[in-house]
C-alpha cells in the first residue's frame, strides 16, 4: 500500500529524516515511535503530501506520490499534530465543510454519524475555537474520517484525551483496522503495543527497528516493550 525508497528530509543543515525505507501493507496499523524530534511528524507530513521530500520516493498503491498527488489525496486523510480546524465554525459546520471539501454524497448522514461516533453531539453547535484541547483533537480526528479514507495518518491522536475518550478512540481505531491502512504516532507505548500490527522506532531521523511488539522485545533482549523501546531508542546504551 505504502512504500518509501530512501526518503530524506533536510531542514537547512538539520537532517530530520534519513534514508527511510518502509513498507506498509493494506489494512495494516503501523505505529511510528521515537523520542521528541526523532522525525515522526516529518515522516507523516511527507507521506501525506504536506511536505515535499528532499530526496527519495514515496509510492502509494503503486503510484509515485510526486507524479500523481491528486489521485491519492482523494483516498487519504490526516489528523495533524497541531489540530487544524476552522475556529469560527461550529463543530458541526467544520464537519460539513470538510465533507464538502471531499464532495461526500450524503453530507448530513455522514456528519451525524461522526458526531455520534466521537460523542460530539452535545457540543456540535459550539464554535471550534473555544473547545478544550481534547475536544479539538476529537474533532480533528473526526474531520480526518469524513471521506472514509483508505489511508489514514494520525499524528499523536490521543494527545490530551482523557482516559475515557482515549478508550473510545482505541475502539474506533480497532473498528477501522483491516479496512483502513493507518499510520499513527504516539508517545504512549502501551497504546502502540496493543493497537499496532507493526511498530517502527525512529532514532535521530533513521528508522532503527521495525517489527511486531513481540519481535521488538525479542530483538532487544528485554522483558517488556517499554524496556525494549528505551533500549532501541537510546541505541542500546542504557
Amino acid at each position: 500500500m505504502i512504500k518509501t525508497v530512501n526518503l530524506c528530509k533536510n531542514f537547512k543543515d538539520k537532517k530530520a529524516v534519513i534514508d527511510l525505507n518502509l513498507e506498509i501493507k493494506k489494512g495494516e496499523l503501523f505505529s511510528l515511535l521515537g523520542v521528541n524530534g526523532a522525525g515522526k511528524t516529518t515522516t507523516i507530513k511527507m507521506l501525506s503530501t504536506l511536505s515535499n521530500p528532499s530526496s527519495g520516493d514515496i509510492f502509494i498503491k503503486g503510484e509515485n506520490l510526486k507524479e500523481n498527488p491528486n489521485k491519492i489525496k482523494r483516498i487519504m486523510n490526516l489528523s495533524p499534530q497541531e489540530t487544524a480546524i476552522a475556529p469560527n465554525l461550529t463543530v458541526k459546520e467544520n464537519l460539513l465543510f470538510m465533507a464538502g471539501v471531499y464532495q461526500i454524497k450524503d453530507k448530513t448522514l455522514k456528519v451525524n454519524k461522526l458526531l455520534n461516533t466521537f460523542k460530539l453531539e452535545e457540543i456540535q453547535n459550539k464554535k471550534a475555537g473555544i473547545l478544550s484541547g481534547g475536544q479539538k483533537r476529537k474533532l480533528s480526528i473526526a474531520l480526518a474520517l469524513t471521506n472514509d479514507p483508505e489511508i489514514l495518518f494520525l499524528d499523536e491522536p490521543t494527545l490530551g484525551l482523557d482516559v475515557l475518550s482515549r478508550r473510545e478512540l482505541w475502539k474506533t481505531i480497532e473498528e477501522l483496522k483491516g479496512k483502513t491502512t493507518i499510520i499513527l504516532t504516539t508517545h504512549y507505548l502501551e497504546e502502540a503495543e496493543s493497537l499496532s500490527d507493526r511498530i517502527g522506532i525512529m532514532v535521530n531521523g533513521k528508522l532503527s527497528s521495525v517489527g511486531t511488539a513481540k519481535e521488538l522485545i525479542a530483538l532487544s533482549g528485554e522483558k517488556d516493550f517499554e524496556n525494549a523501546f528505551v533500549k532501541i531508542a537510546t541505541g542500546g546504551e542504557l
Binding site: 495533524p80 476552522a86 469560527n88
Partner: protein, 243 residues
C-alpha cells in the same frame, strides 16, 4: 466549482461572525455618509452624488482588511496546510476568497445607495448600473486583501491592511480633490488606483462619462496586476510551508 462554493461559504461564516467587520464595513461608512450630509459643506466633493461613490470605495477598503486578516489567519492556523492534503486546488482557494466577499459587497453598495437616496440622491437607472460596476470595482480590493494576507503574518495583517484604508481615505479624492494639494501628494493620488475607483463610480452615478475611460483603463490594469500577484504570492505561501 462545488468545492469553491463550499470553501466560500465557510469563509463567509468566518467573516460575518466577527462583529467588528460589520461595524467597520457597514456602520462606519453609513455614519460618515449621514453626518457629512448634515454639515452642508459648500464643496463639490460633498455633493451627495460625488460623496456617495467615495463612501462606497471607502467601505471596500475594509473588505481588503478582512480578506487580508482571513487569509493570513488561515495560513497561520494550519487549516490551509491541512487542506493542501485534500483534493482542493489552489485556484479554488483564491476563487473562494473572492466569492466570499461578494455578499458583503452587495449589501454595502445597496445600503450606501439607499441611505444616499434618503439623504437626497435622485433615483435613476444609473444607480442600478453603479451596483453592478461597484461589484467589479470591489474585486480589486479583495485581490489586495489576498495579496496582503499572503505576504504578512496574522499579527501584522490588520496593521498593514489599515494602511490601505488610510490610503483610500486620503488618495481617493473622497474628502478633497487631489488638485487642491498638488506636488508629491497629487502624484501619489494619480499613481494609486483608488482615485480612479471613485471616478468610475462618480461618472456612473452622475451619468457623466467624460473621464471614465482613463479611469477604467487604470483600474483594469491594476486589477489584472494585483490579481495575478495575489495568485502568485498565495501559491508561494502555500508552497513555502512544504519546504
Amino acid at each position: 466549482m462545488k468545492r469553491t462554493l463550499n470553501f466560500a461559504s465557510r469563509n463567509i461564516k468566518e467573516l460575518i461572525r466577527d462583529p467588528l467587520s460589520s461595524i467597520f464595513a457597514l456602520v462606519l461608512p453609513l455614519f460618515l455618509l449621514w453626518i457629512f450630509q448634515q454639515f452642508k459643506i459648500p464643496n463639490e466633493a460633498y455633493i451627495i452624488s460625488n460623496f456617495t461613490p467615495g463612501i462606497i470605495v471607502f467601505g471596500f477598503s475594509f473588505i481588503t482588511m478582512f480578506t487580508a486578516v482571513l487569509v493570513s489567519k488561515d495560513r497561520s492556523s494550519s487549516l490551509l496546510l491541512r487542506l493542501s492534503a485534500s483534493p482542493m486546488k489552489s485556484y479554488e482557494y483564491v476563487l473562494g476568497y473572492f466569492l466570499s466577499s461578494m455578499p458583503i459587497v452587495v449589501i454595502q453598495i445597496v445600503l450606501f445607495i439607499l441611505l444616499a437616496m434618503i439623504l437626497g440622491l435622485n433615483f435613476s437607472v444609473n444607480l442600478l448600473l453603479a451596483l453592478l460596476v461597484g461589484v467589479v470595482v470591489s474585486l480589486l480590493f479583495i485581490a489586495f486583501g489576498i495579496l496582503l494576507g499572503s505576504l504578512v503574518g496574522d499579527k501584522s495583517a490588520p496593521g498593514v491592511a489599515s494602511v490601505i484604508v488610510q490610503l483610500v481615505a486620503f488618495t481617493s479624492g473622497m474628502w478633497f480633490s487631489s488638485d487642491m494639494v498638488g506636488g508629491f501628494f497629487a502624484t501619489l493620488c494619480n499613481a494609486l488606483p483608488f482615485k480612479y475607483c471613485v471616478d468610475i463610480l462618480k461618472g456612473i452615478i452622475n451619468g457623466n462619462y467624460d473621464n471614465i475611460l482613463l479611469a477604467f483603463i487604470v483600474f483594469f490594469a491594476y486589477l489584472i496586476v494585483v490579481t495575478l500577484l495575489s495568485v502568485i504570492f498565495f501559491n508561494k505561501s502555500l508552497k513555502s510551508d512544504k519546504k
